[in-house]
Amino acid sequence: MGDEQPHGPAASAPYRFAEQHVPPAPVRVSEVAQTTFEHVYEVDPRLMQEHVLQQVFPNWDTLRIMRSRGDHLEWMHRHFADKVITGSQLLAEVEGEPQG
């Protein structure tokens, strides 16, 4: 990749088939799940061998699905209210109050 070509999954990034079909090494996170990309959880492949077989996704499609979910949730927030108040802010304020 030349210097003029931006890194990462941009529209102008080159598409290399082999790269797209090699996900990051899985990391086990529970008895039934593993993670590949950060925050991308998958059922343990050993549990998808009989009735539902695990499908192979190119990396870009896995990330697209994850980001689409994020987009969808963001849209829902904006649809229902103009802004979201974060609980951590209020928690910090409450924890800073004298307890009596």
């Binding site: 009735h51 539902v52 969808h72 979201v84 108040i85 951590s88 209020l90 928690l91």
Partner: protein, 522 residues
């Protein structure tokens, strides 16, 4: 799959579905409809009809062909709906209204075939009255599409089911639906001021407080609005409704807290709901089975530590200063009950996903842990706060009994949602995964028995069979006469008086009994 041995008398108690209309009757029906509807408003293809045979609730796949309507119509006005119903009444052909088709009690399923009236073309916004804060809409519109328009005016129609993007105003009326944020804004019955309603004979009624219109409270005459809500299409078809509007909320807050003990979570949700905070819009209790299910299959919960055994979420809407002040009060209550805040990402993301549960792809597990494709179903009830733990325990035992016999059913845990702003009662629901491809007559009979048992538990604890979905499916419906007592006989009298030929969604709610020989009037 393990073969189930349901008692013979529980295997199939419903009358056989009539045969499809023969060619002669179909031609008579089409000849009557063609002067009323355009060609593209009459659908007869197999795909059009099969796709309107079911709703997302578990479905006896092995009997799909028995639920297929003879034809589908897509009217675009109240007058067209009225003419269709008159024709059906004259020809004695069943009529089944269908709105979003998202209901969970089979209201839109044509048990006796006939004409499905799909109201999706009644999707006009007729009026937005900024001064009186109302919108008048066709019943084929969704709250989502309406709210996109209302947002331009800073307004909001706060009817918020878990099928928010796809359920339609008419279906909400026919079901008398329950809203996630009803503890602040009320439920469908509170938000719909009045509506045009086509009776089973084709007459058109405008129903609401008093003469209807934009009146929110009248003491004139019988209060008929509630009669024509929640009837599951058995008393006619709502076509145009006037709705109450609110300012679009400036701010949203939806904290999620975890507990290492269900009883602590139950105590906390009760305290939150009873606090009387004006912007409190609802609270949800997740039980241990629900947390276990989420830790299996929901990316937000998989990494949660094992001492997280129950969850509570609260949600608030309003002006920012109000929500901040009320929110801090709720955080103090949660702290007093030993709650741990789950963080902004889960709190905000999970709440946003609650508006759209129907879009979730679902799978469950065999008992040895293998993934299987499953459809989701939830059985609901209305239960007082103090009875929620006992009902939850009994319901899990019912599903555990099913699961011991077969992998067709999987317990996905329970939620309890506040219904009112005082915390008096909760919509309790048990989510059950069902492996529909493996359903057969025996498994279906076992499911129907479980539904009956679930309803019986709700009644035994002083609750109601349903807070939201309705109670006209096989199994639960058997207990409706017990629940309503003399009121059920009034239902039969009303049905017979308004639908003398039993053409409006026949086969539902045991209302065929209104036409049994020997039934006395009055």
């Amino acid at each position: 799959m393990t073969t189930l041995n349901a008692p013979e008398d529980e295997l199939e108690t419903w009358p056989p579905t009539p045969a499809p209309l023969d060619a002669g009757r179909m031609e008579t029906l089409l000849a009557a409809l063609r002067p009323v509807l355009a060609e593209d408003q009459i659908l007869t293809s197999k795909a059009d009809r099969y796709n309107r045979a079911r709703v997302p609730a578990p479905f006896p796949i092995h009997r799909w062909s028995e639920r297929v309507p003879d034809l589908v119509v897509l009217p675009s006005s109240t007058e067209q709906v009225a003419q269709i119903v008159r024709i059906a009444n004259d020809l004695r052909i069943p009529v089944v209204p269908r709105d979003g088709g998202t209901g969970l009690t089979d209201g839109a399923v044509p048990l006796r075939r006939g004409i499905v009236v799909d109201v999706k073309r009644l999707n006009q916004i007729h009026e937005i009255d900024l001064e009186n804060r109302t919108a008048t809409v066709g019943t084929g519109i969704s709250a989502l599409k309406l709210n996109e328009r209302l947002a331009r005016h800073g307004l909001f129609y706060p009817d918020d089911p878990a099928s928010y993007p796809c359920s339609l105003v008419g279906g909400r009326i026919g079901t008398s639906g329950w809203s996630l944020i009803g503890a602040r804004y009320g439920h469908t019955r509170d938000l719909v001021l009045s509506f045009d309603h086509v009776l089973p004979t084709g007459a058109v009624l405008h129903v609401g407080d008093g003469g209807g219109g934009k009146i929110s409270k009248s003491s004139s005459g019988y209060q008929l609005k509630h009669l024509f809500m929640g009837h599951q299409g058995t008393l006619g078809i709502a076509t145009k409704a006037t709705l109450k509007l609110y300012p679009k909320p400036e701010a949203e807050l939806s904290p999620f807290w975890s507990f290492d003990d269900y009883d602590d979570a139950h105590a906390c949700v009760g305290a939150l709901a009873r606090a009387g905070v004006a912007t409190f819009s609802g609270a949800v209790l997740f039980d241990e089975h629900k947390v276990a299910y989420l830790r299996r299959d929901d990316e937000a919960y998989i990494p949660q530590p094992h001492d997280v055994r129950a969850l509570v979420c609260a949600v608030m809407y309003g002006y920012e200063d109000e929500v901040r002040a009320g929110g801090k009060r709720l955080f103090r209550i949660a702290r007093e009950h030993g709650a741990r805040y789950l963080g902004d990402e889960i709190s905000e993301g999970d709440w946003a996903a609650r508006h759209d549960r129907y879009a979730t792809p679902l799978h469950g597990r065999t008992k040895d842990g293998q993934v299987i494709p499953m459809s989701w179903h939830c059985e609901d009830a209305a239960v007082n706060y103090t009875k929620v733990p006992a009902v939850s325990k009994a319901w899990h035992e019912i599903i555990a009994d099913l699961r011991r016999k077969t992998d067709v059913f999987d317990d996905w845990g329970m939620f309890a949602y506040t219904s009112a702003d005082t915390g008096v009662d909760y919509l309790t629901e048990i989510d059950v995964g069902i492996w529909e491809q493996r359903l057969d007559a025996d498994a279906w009979a076992a499911w129907v028995k479980a539904k009956r048992d679930i309803a019986a538990v709700a009644l035994a604890h002083g609750g109601s069979i349903s807070a939201c979905h309705g109670s006209c499916r096989e199994g639960e419906v058997d207990l409706v006469p017990e629940e309503l007592g003399r009121g059920f006989e009034v239902m039969l009298d009303v049905k017979r008086a308004l639908d003398p030929n039993n053409i409006m969604n026949p086969g539902k709610y045991l209302l065929d009994r209104a036409y049994d020989e020997g039934v006395t009037r009055g």
